[in-house]
Symmetry: C2
Subunit: 349 residues, 2 copies
């Protein structure tokens, strides 16, 4: 029986900085095929993702849309792994899978539901499925390509353009021959957006007028607006849309902490009629089971092979170093997308 | 050479009630085939439409989205006719056509652009193309069917449900097995909506709370909202949409006369993200050249033949009676959709 390393949470941390002492890294015996119930699979973990949202899950809060970790139990998150045994008709031994229900363990048993099979034809390193081929990138693909159907020569505006989603929107749109205008909240981020290939970018916090900044960057108007922020930015964007424009409504982060008093009220929605706009609200999880997912994998894999897309990874080796890797992320010590390598993909592939 | 009757405007009427003396009905010689320039057609008029918006065109105003009539010239509007001669590759002799550029004349020459060919397979009286098969009905079809793709068992909410567009939305949706909720601004209109088959209807002017009225009429929420009014009604509808709901954005009449101060500001747009809603702004003229137009003609023709759609027509005979027919409309003396019969369709069909 093989050894299994597991990362467990010792205590929840409602506030303040978590420390190494809040985690336990222990070894025991691995789960075996015989323990599988119908619909379950035994997964060997290859890579785990360290994400900012996990800080909230360490807090013990019960009022969030994502469940907190429990003291005394293994933590979990996004991961990539190989199916070692299956009691589900959806997966067979050797399949590579990804999803948000990966235990921080070398091997674990989980319900097959919620995991997605990675096409064996992808031809890119499996770690990329937590990075450039991961959920934020697919979000960018669904909003930009699947829903807004961009045409070469059109102009796209992206808010939060340096973020995990935004930077892929910029590069996907640029690759398709669009004029790309990005906005972000610091000069460093604006520079990053330009480095990714955007034709124009501005710092929305320092421009005198959002309306003038958009008009200057896109004198002919906006065909597609990829919205990550909502609020005033969306309102001004509505005013600057061209007839038949499309808006991918990915998020409204400017409004999530707003109170009834501070919430921004939209004034320009009548342009939806006057300019024949379409607004697409969407959630990426609805699209994994559609043809859009393999289209995304194919298109972005191709861009990777031809070096046409930039995405910085930051890999830490060994599950025993997982807690420190996560704590460092909360301190901003990562440079690029941080992942933990748990085992070698080549072992069974 | 055949005789041609033409209705001319004597003077523009900026305000007050127009009278018969403001029009001239005169006979002269008809235009002939030899006068056609490339791209033009010679049309014999069958029916002309009397519409409320024509009052604005009598005013001489120059700031409207639709051009005013000019003193001393024939008036024009929506009509149905037969092509008697063509110098356009889009039409041939005998084609039946409809569109908004019909001169109020027995025969006239016009650019082929802007007119639409009526499929000869429609098998319904040509006058219907100014009524149940006319532009407001096609607007209802595009928003409800083409864009929102309704499924049996879903719930649709329609504002201004007794209007030219709304009453067709109600009947199209009902025929497709949806639960239909209509809203209008008088008890008579509410009764009319129920007579058309709506499952629930309310007077939005007299309900205590719009939110409660919608919740009571649609306890499980709204899958499709067909918006004719915008403003507060749209805002409350957003709140009551179900996940994956669709909004057909046909008009925002409540906001068209709003000033900067009185304009309603939308508070609930974040539901577009949270509920994955799609909002479709559209203008019907974009859809005449798409497959939606023949789908509409086929579906509604079929409903007509099976007596599954109600639409009241009010026909006046003779172009010489056209001015009075129009004046009566402005006084509300019509009962149903008012049209003027100019010549017999059977003559050439």
């Amino acid at each position: 029986m093989s050894t299994n390393t597991v990362v467990t949470l010792n205590r929840t941390i409602p506030s303040g900085a978590p420390t190494l002492q809040d985690f336990k890294v222990a070894s025991g015996s691995a789960p075996s095929k015989g323990e599988l119930k119908t619909g379950e699979i035994l997964v060997r973990t290859l890579y785990l993702s360290c994400d900012p949202y996990m800080r909230g899950r360490l807090s013990g809060r019960t009022d969030s849309y994502v469940a907190s970790f429990e003291a005394g139990k293994p933590i979990d998150g996004l991961g990539v792994g190989v199916v070692e045994a299956s009691a589900s008709s959806d997966f067979k031994e050797g399949d590579m899978v990804t999803g948000p229900t990966f235990k921080w363990a070398t091997r674990f048993i989980t319900s097959a539901a919620g995991l997605t099979k990675i096409p064996s034809s992808s031809g890119v390193p499996p770690a990329y499925f937590l990075g450039v081929l991961g959920m934020p990138s697919f979000t960018a693909y669904v909003g930009t390509i699947t829903l807004c159907k961009p045409k070469a020569g059109e102009t796209i505006l992206v808010s939060a353009a340096s973020g995990a989603v935004g930077q892929i929107v910029v590069q996907l749109a640029k690759a398709r021959g669009l004029r790309v205008v990005g906005a972000a909240g610091s000069d460093e981020k604006v520079q990053h957006i330009k480095d990714l290939g955007a034709d124009a970018a501005f710092n929305y916090k320092t421009v005198k007028s959002l309306d003038s900044a958009i008009k200057e960057a896109a004198p002919k108007g906006i065909d597609i607006y990829f919205d990550n922020v909502g609020g005033e930015f969306l309102d001004v964007a509505l005013k600057n849309m061209k007839p038949n424009g499309r808006i991918a409504e990915c998020g409204m982060i400017s409004q999530y902490n707003a109170t009834a008093e501070s919430a921004y009220h939209i004034q320009n929605l009548a342009y939806v009629v006057m300019k024949k706009l379409t607004i697409y609200g969407f959630i990426v999880s609805d699209y994994y089971s559609t043809p859009a997912y393999s289209e995304f994998i194919n298109e972005v894999s191709g861009m990777l092979k031809e070096n046409k897309i930039k995405y910085k990874m930051d890999e830490i080796s060994g599950l025993e170093n997982g807690p420190q890797a996560l704590l460092d992320l909360f301190e901003g010590k990562n440079f690029g997308k941080r992942i933990v390598k748990v085992s070698e993909p080549s072992h069974r592939l």
